[in-house]
Point group: C2
Chain length 288, copies 2
Amino acid sequence: MCSPEVAKAVQDRIAREGRPALSRRNFLKLGGAAAAGLAVAQLGLTARRAAARSSEGALPAVIDLSYVYATSVPTYTPGEEPARSTVVTVQDNGFYIQKWELFEHSGTHMDFPAHFIADGTTVDNYDASLLVGPSVVIDIKAKAAENADAMLEAADIEAWEAANGEIPDGAIVLMNSGWGQYWNDVAAFRNADAGGVMHFPGFSGEAIQWLLDNRNINGIGVDTLSLDPGNSATFDAHYTILGAEKYGLENVANLDELAAHPGALVVVGVNRWEAGSGGPGRVLALVL
Amino acid sequence: MCSPEVAKAVQDRIAREGRPALSRRNFLKLGGAAAAGLAVAQLGLTARRAAARSSEGALPAVIDLSYVYATSVPTYTPGEEPARSTVVTVQDNGFYIQKWELFEHSGTHMDFPAHFIADGTTVDNYDASLLVGPSVVIDIKAKAAENADAMLEAADIEAWEAANGEIPDGAIVLMNSGWGQYWNDVAAFRNADAGGVMHFPGFSGEAIQWLLDNRNINGIGVDTLSLDPGNSATFDAHYTILGAEKYGLENVANLDELAAHPGALVVVGVNRWEAGSGGPGRVLALVL
């Protein structure tokens, strides 16, 4: 909402009544008895929530697998960083709104079949029930630390299963290469050589084919810019997963934390982009 | 990814190898023994998934509470519809990407405290654990059918509790006014009169204050364009919920279906917009 009429109504209200409710920061600035009374009430709620979470039927803990969707994010193709501008502000207009320009494959985002497959399903038409599934985090940090071109191979999946049991139906299988440590350093995260070829880990096409042949997964994900390793020119991982009408997540955050909670339920909260080839969204894991 | 180098690599691969995996539609076009063999394998997977979902430890059913994020969506302010353009296509470039221009308050989206409160929390810094909570759907369809300016009042909440028990901690309290029936008709959904004033239902500020005083909710939501009724000039609902550092969801879909599953877990998958006043995202409900 940012029409002149709305802005005027909001400004008039502020002039007439002031703010009808305290923000958290203003609350913290208050002193005296009124604040003390409010503080007791607020602490009561906090205690009540904590009790609810620690009892039977508690709300799940939540692990945030999305990075901030920022103008500074590393991108596969330089120039595809999102841009934002301020449309109106609380100070000048009574309320605050930003406008965004973005490419679908930026930030923590999803690749859907239509990204590589001419008649593949787009985001808006994809079965929402497949956006939820148990997490499987496969750690290849040791070999990725030695070789930036390392791939998650079928042998890594078999080793994971030997230690953890069979990958469950509906799983979202995530590569944890340790690459998240470079997220805030665009050059290190892209790791391009003098010829412009990037070097970071990804899935091998064979590993994905093994999952498709032997297990019933919902999708895959990586902590890097691409499902394929950065130096791939053939995009085997993309073709294999998207060609099977499944999806891939890129730039997934906090995989060490997720790995500590096996079987956490991953919810792929991709905005329902019309005709979308994929796109940014919120990925949350629920520890139930 | 849409650099010329990438496009060339993908086109070269297509020329050299053809598509490495079948899309669903191509699969359906196949005939003969190979297709029959594939069909058996595919049916096997489908049966396996169905079995998994109906047994103990099954994956949750998912209710999609987001509309398609389309260029045709109704908006509070005309001119704030999202726009999309095609950057590259599979046919011409080997892969498909769109670019978007959007305002944060369009489609199924969220209002965060910073939308109305100068020092309120933005999307990127909001506690992710508060984005998940049990659904409470309060039906005001009868009075909304008689009066488009109807409000969800404290009495409606008390009546809901008399029938259903106390609103649980962490709840996301959703107004079901029946307005979703007009979603695909922009004029009917906005329902503006000759003077440009819109008429659709919303929360009263008093109802939200009742929830803040008496229950420990995470947020609220509506099946209309605004938390306040369309004819509001004072935005009591916005100020009350956002001033309490909580959030509101607008244009929430499929509330009749959600109401049939009391206590379904709502996951507010808002993209983690940097400095965001709110923004579009995927809202899913899990029937656990």
